[in-house]
């Protein structure tokens, strides 16, 4: 009966809404924690600051390593079975500049400690089952083969190859068939020993768990990890390039890349508001109005800031039937010229700012969203007063500051265009 009372109390009490309070654990800003007691759930994100950009001579190495390790056995049982047998969730993914492992569990601390202990064993293992490696290779090679038969993945691969040639970003996370085939267990273990270390780990915990228990979880995850830091910050020289890939599809996929800033640049909030008006906010944005609402050319069109460690760009993308590709491209370039001039009323800017601020307040309505925000804060080394500083910085944005940012932080002279589809005469 007492439990019922507690649950009812949680959902019927009017709380005063404060931003989630972010704490670090053990005075270490790589370990962040938000306590939320309203549901009996704990979410954990473990991120290592190494992704496919650090694959070196073996594109696909980091992704194959993570998939193989997570598909392995610990004490004769599959890692995933430890999670699924108690109703917990395990997911993992490799990005270009980081890899992450995510756990969701009911808030039984002993159970979570068992699960984090399993993850610790997995990332410290010194051997890899050859059957597991073979299966993961087969799966990845199938995915690579399929990616060559889909316009969206062909476009993504074309952008990576042509925009960042000869850098860690030039290949897709899954790598290529030749290199994936050649990767050995030994190479994986060596790579794993290099990237799983105490200096390059970030842990984020959200949910119904105490600070002291969070500390125990962190100790369990980091147990016996080496201290060394071996990774060097990425250096990517973005190259202007135009590239069309001929492909037999009903639609052409188009991406227009405008060099811009990275997420940690002080101009970020100016670009955020400008892009909101340009193409970052769905219906009512200039791109959506001109492409979809007025002409019905595409189901979706958008622009957003892509940020790597030392390069950033605005990416505009859409899909349209092959016959309409040139028309859509022309319309987007007209809108880019409008964006460059940015002759927008102060009122429109104020409305955009207000909308972004109100939307921001609602971004923390689930534990999962808070975990994602926490991971981003951790990854970008943003300050723990993120919620306040975000609002302060956004409030400072004006028409003049946007125009300055567009002038100095966006390179309109080096726009790249990529497309995939069937050329129609």
């Amino acid at each position: 009966m007492k439990y019922v009372f507690f649950v009812i109390a949680i959902f019927s009490t009017q709380f005063i809404f404060a931003n989630p309070k972010i704490d670090n654990i053990a005075d270490n800003n790589d370990y962040l924690f938000v306590q939320i007691e309203s549901l009996p759930i704990v979410d954990i994100n473990i991120t290592f600051k190494s992704g496919s950009a650090k694959d070196g001579e073996s594109p696909g190495l980091t992704n194959l390593m993570l998939n193989s390790l997570m598909a392995s056995n610990i004490n004769d049982n599959k890692i995933i079975s430890y999670f699924e047998n108690v109703g917990a969730k395990l997911s993992y993914s490799t990005g270009k500049e980081s890899l992450s492992i995510t756990i969701r569990s009911l808030n039984d601390v002993d159970q979570i400690l068992m699960l984090t202990g399993i993850i610790n064993k997995a990332i410290r293992t010194d051997s890899l089952d050859s059957n597991v490696l073979k299966l993961e290779k087969d799966k990845i090679i199938r995915n690579i083969s399929d990616s060559k038969k889909r316009p969206a993945t062909l476009l993504s691969s074309s952008i990576s190859n042509n925009l960042f040639p000869n850098t860690g970003l030039s290949h897709e996370v899954i790598g290529n068939i030749k290199t994936v085939n050649q990767i050995t267990s030994l190479e994986i273990i060596k790579h794993q020993n290099k990237i799983f270390n105490l200096q390059d780990i970030e842990i984020n915990i959200v949910g119904n768990i105490s600070r002291s228990d969070s500390k125990r979880l962190i100790s369990s995850i980091t147990y016996n990890l080496p201290v060394k830091r071996t990774l060097i910050k990425g250096k990517y020289a973005m190259k202007k390039n135009n590239y069309h890939t001929e492909f037999d599809s009903t639609q052409s996929h188009l991406a227009i890349i405008i060099p811009s800033i990275t997420r940690d640049n002080p101009q970020y909030h100016n670009i955020l508001v400008a892009n909101y008006i340009f193409g970052g906010s769905g219906f009512g944005s200039w791109l959506m109005e001109e492409i979809r609402e007025k002409r019905g050319l595409s189901y979706s069109v958008s622009s957003y800031l892509v940020s790597y460690e030392d390069e950033g760009f605005l990416k505009i993308s859409l899909q349209t039937k092959n016959e309409n590709l040139t028309l859509a491209k022309d319309i987007i370039f007209k809108q880019i010229n409008r964006f460059k001039i940015f002759n927008v009323s102060e009122e429109k800017i104020s409305t955009a700012k207000l909308s972004i601020l109100r939307s921001f307040e609602m971004k923390t309505d689930t534990n999962k969203k808070i975990l994602n925000l926490l991971s981003a804060i951790n990854n970008l080394n943003l300050d723990l007063n993120y919620f306040e500083t975000y609002k302060t910085n956004l409030n400072k944005v004006s028409k003049e500051s946007i125009r300055n940012a567009l002038l100095n932080s966006i390179d309109f002279n080096n726009i790249s265009v990529f497309s995939v589809g069937k050329t129609v005469e």
Partner: protein, 443 residues
């Protein structure tokens, strides 16, 4: 015990007791009722954040459509953003955007839904806007023409250039023809080209009325205020005359096996098993079937992956799709990719072996207990998202199944026995015909 001691005792209990997972239920926070015009209202309170989801669900989807006009429910969903007698095209979205809200709509085989996630202070305005488009939609020929082009682009993106989605469409048409769940939600290209303003107006008049709709509000709101707003904005909307026209069944022939060629690198095998509509009288049997499916494919450590991918090495991957609450006959579909040189026939035989009597009879209590743990934990996780809470209620209520089933499901699952699970497996997989579809790399 005096009052202070009682309160102190209660505080001790609350702060020291772990939360009981099983006690999180919809019934603790849901209130539902009808307006006089038949509109059903479901209020789900969750005050964890200042946001609230305002949604309306119409009991119309592609399964209600007629041959020749497939995709009309989805086109109408798009047109609902194109203005009313009070609002210009796009103005609805523009208002929600200024609020910092997010909005969208979705069409399924059974329902069409619209929602806005907004700050609680904007809820009244959104209720007003949603009620406005229930009765005042303005269909403009130029807007229809443009929006149908958008829908055709959506079809190209999601179906025509997507081999797996296209194959699923063919599987459903092969099983049910252009009837009920056989009708593709997005419609065929030919049918999309033929939809007129008169068709859309008729569809709107037939289905967009209070007694065919459910308002679901989930999140942070003041219950008394919300009830007042709902009555104020929806209470005066009258029902239009409902057509008693029953759509004609299209005759069709189901092939036991079909082959599709498309842009895939390796063949994919789909095995489909027909399943009757959800029936309250067979509830335990259907819930036992859910557990059987959970044991077979509820995760990467479940039987199909464990045996076919990891042990026998005959599959690269396996997936299974099933809808518990289908209001028309539906398919349970098991699919996967044969590994290496394994033929599609060999792959199929291996899957069927996992579904054989001998295999079913070997299910253990331990497997059942693990499956129940996953279902039980999921019943807690689903409360993290306010939107998902509204979705779950809407997905049932539009099929005339009470939201109360959500709580009953969690309770019932715990009491399902091993024998019931095995029996469900026998009924739906042993005594049932298999429809086979092969998606092969194009020649």
């Amino acid at each position: 015990m005096n009052l202070i001691r009682q309160i102190f005792f209660l505080i001790i209990l609350i702060s020291s007791a772990p939360l009981s997972y099983s006690q999180i239920m919809f019934s603790d926070r849901v209130e539902s009722y009808y307006l006089e015009n038949g509109l059903k209202v479901v209020l789900i309170e969750d005050k964890r954040s200042p946001s609230v989801v305002n949604s309306i669900w119409y009991k119309v989807g592609s399964s209600n459509e007629e041959s020749g006009k497939t995709g009309i429910s989805h086109v109408l969903e798009h047109m609902m953003f194109k203005g009313t007698v009070n609002l210009a095209p796009g103005e609805f979205s523009s208002i929600v955007k200024k609020m910092g809200g997010t909005e969208n709509a979705f069409t399924s085989k059974d329902y069409t839904g619209y929602f806005q996630k907004i700050h609680t202070s904007d809820l009244r305005r959104c209720i007003e806007l949603e009620s406005d488009r229930m009765r005042n939609l303005k269909l403009d020929v130029k807007e229809i023409k443009s929006e149908i082009e958008v829908v055709k682009e959506e079809r190209r993106l999601r179906t025509d250039d997507n081999p797996v989605a296209k194959t699923f469409e063919k599987i459903m048409i092969n099983a049910y023809g252009m009837n009920e769940y056989g009708i593709p939600i997005i419609g065929t290209m030919d049918n999309l080209n033929s939809i007129t303003k008169a068709d859309l107006q008729r569809w709107y008049d037939l289905h967009y009325q209070p007694n065919n709709a459910i308002v679901i509000i989930a999140g942070n709101f003041n219950s008394n205020d919300v009830k007042k707003y709902i009555k104020e904005y929806y209470g005066s909307i009258n029902n239009k005359k409902k057509s008693d026209k029953i759509s004609k069944k299209i005759t069709f022939t189901t092939e036991d096996s079909i082959t599709v060629y498309d842009k895939v690198s390796k063949p994919i095998v789909f095995l489909a098993f027909k399943k009757p509509r959800f029936d309250n009288n067979k509830m335990r049997e259907l819930y036992a079937l859910d557990l059987f499916i959970e044991i077979m494919d509820g995760g990467y450590s479940s039987r199909l992956t464990k045996n076919l991918v990891n042990k026998k090495k005959v599959a690269l991957d396996i997936f299974l799709s099933n809808d518990t609450y289908n209001q028309y006959p539906n398919l349970i579909i098991i699919g996967g990719t044969p590994r290496g040189d394994i033929s599609t026939e060999e792959f199929k035989n291996n899957v069927l072996q996992e579904l054989s009597l001998q295999s079913i009879d070997s299910i253990t209590n331990n497997e059942l207990s693990n499956a129940k743990a996953r279902v039980s934990a999921n019943s807690v996780y689903k409360f993290d998202s306010v939107f998902y809470q509204a979705m779950q209620v809407g997905m049932l209520e539009t099929k005339n199944i009470s939201w109360k089933n959500l709580d009953q499901y969690t309770k019932a699952i715990k009491s399902i026995t091993l024998d019931e699970v095995k029996n469900a497996g026998r009924i739906y997989f042993i005594d049932n015909k298999t429809l086979t579809t092969l998606l092969r790399p194009e020649k």
